[in-house]
Amino acid sequence: MIIPNELKYTRTHEWVRLETDGALSVGITDHAQELLGDLVFVELPEVGRTLAAEEACVVLESVKAAADTYAPVAGSVVAVNEEVVAAPERINRDAYAAWLFRLAPANAADLEKLLDAAAYKAAIDAQ
């Protein structure tokens, strides 16, 4: 199981990366893709949609189950990754390269409330 140190995480298995323009890239963790199995369908939010923290905004369907992905913090969607819609298996191949959407956070300080790699690892181990 891969948990890169430089990223932030949520208990619902999203990873979050702060980009140079201040936007947050969001994807699902390697652990999450492994639990879901091969992904076959991804439905992303509309660009411009305003999201509350922990609001469900992505539907992932795998060979096994359907799962929601949640907004890690409040903000608005500034970009979505159409490449994962065309080829959902990218998420299985490299979960940290296959970002799902980018969020302009309502409050940049919210990022600090998320889990670091060690805390995320501890959260998985406790499950």
Binding site: G37, D38, V40, F41, V59, E61, V63, K64, A66, E89
Partner: protein, 369 residues
């Protein structure tokens, strides 16, 4: 405590993801379920099916017993080795289990029943045997007689098996579909080699003593047969339009409402358990396939609606071969192939087309131009 098959250590050595399947710890995949699925459609894959229970059914009155017990007629099995698929019903016409029966000779049949229903099935069969006072013996290949079973499936399955077991080629080369024969010349001792399967592809199901099963598994791996988990087995059987016990039918379901009328012998004079109930009830539902016309995945228990009434998906999933979602569904009578319906997926009603299963046979889409 989960039960394990004789291949448990072999699965772990291959880094399989193990899951609880009806009380058995089984591999769901060894990495990618979709790659395993494609291996069976395009090349050759193998499954550990040792959790299923083979039962040797013997004795002078065994044929009489099976003809009274099962909805399909083992009397149709004229050639030694020929197999048939049948439901075993309760008195109300519900399906106790589905199974494959091979006729070895008039006093010896081999029956293969599902893993999750083994105890219930054996109790049911033994009770009927006692009621009817027939001279027959049921011997499950478990415990001291433990058997291992490996299903090798795919267009190249037979050639790969012969590469690993060249000594069985002569005896199995001309084996027609849906046959099973004992082969005593193999390097692994006596093998039962069958041309049955659960994927819609050709192949062999190999049964042998538990102690030699891992060695055979490793020889098959060396012959480039890809290990495949229960995840791929499920999408393969769904594409092949084959029912899964406990999902598409159970003790509350009539075989006539589960697409099993073709193997339910109501026309002849033969009486069997559940026949009276089926004749009284008739057919109450249609059982057909669905293809999703938009993006998404069909899943078991989703609701179906159409002008004729409502229905329910019994098995659904994403078809890796067709790259669309497909399903088997219990639907109102009067629905026809080609009809449109709607399925509720996460609160939205999405359009589906009613189709006749199977979706895939021998790697090809059925009905495709």
């Amino acid at each position: 405590m989960l039960k394990t098959t004789v291949l448990n250590a072999a699965h772990r050595a291959l880094h399989a993801r193990m899951v609880d399947f009806g009380g058995w710890e089984m591999p769901v995949n060894y990495g990618s379920q979709i790659e395993e699925h494609h291996a069976v459609r395009r090349d050759a894959g193998m499954f550990d099916v040792s959790h299923m229970c083979a039962v040797d059914a013997t004795g002078p009155e065994i044929k009489t017993f099976l003809r009274r017990l099962l909805a399909n007629d083992v009397g149709k099995l004229r050639t030694p080795g020929k197999a048939l698929y049948s439901a075993m019903l309760n008195e109300s016409g519900g399906v106790v289990d589905d199974m494959i029966v091979y006729r070895l000779d008039d006093a010896h049949y081999r029956v293969v029943i599902n893993a999750g229903t083994t105890d219930k099935d054996l109790a049911w069969m033994s009770a009927r045997l006692e009621d009817w006072r027939l001279a027959a013996i049921l011997t499950p290949l478990k415990g001291e007689r433990e058997a291992g079973m490996i299903a090798v499936q795919g267009p190249n399955a037979r050639e790969r098996v012969w590469a690993a077991l060249p000594e069985i080629r002569g005896l199995t080369e001309n084996l027609p579909p849906f046959f099973g024969v004992p082969v005593s010349t193999s390097a692994y001792g006596e093998l039962f080699v069958a041309t049955t399967g659960y994927t819609g592809e050709n192949g062999f199901e190999l049964t042998l003593v538990a102690a030699r099963t891992e060695k055979l598994w490793n020889a098959l791996l060396s012959a480039n047969i890809k290990p495949c988990g229960l995840g791929a087995r499920d999408t393969l059987r769904l594409e092949a339009g084959m029912n899964l016990y406990g999902q598409d039918m159970d003790e509350e379901t009539s075989p006539l409402d589960a697409g099993m009328a073709w193997c339910t012998d109501l026309a002849s004079d033969r009486d069997f358990v559940g026949k009276g109930a089926l004749l009284a009830q008739g057919r109450r539902h249609a059982f057909l396939g669905l293809k999703l016309l938009e993006k998404g995945v069909l899943r078991a228990h989703q609701k179906v609606r159409m002008p004729q009434g409502e229905g329910e998906i019994t098995s659904g999933g994403f078809s890796p071969t067709l790259k669309v979602a497909i399903a088997l569904a219990r639907l109102p009578l009067g629905v026809a192939v080609g009809d449109r319906a709607e399925v509720e997926i996460r609160g939205k009603w999405l359009p589906v087309e009613v189709v006749r299963p199977p979706f895939i046979r021998h790697g090809k889409a059925v009905g495709a131009k």
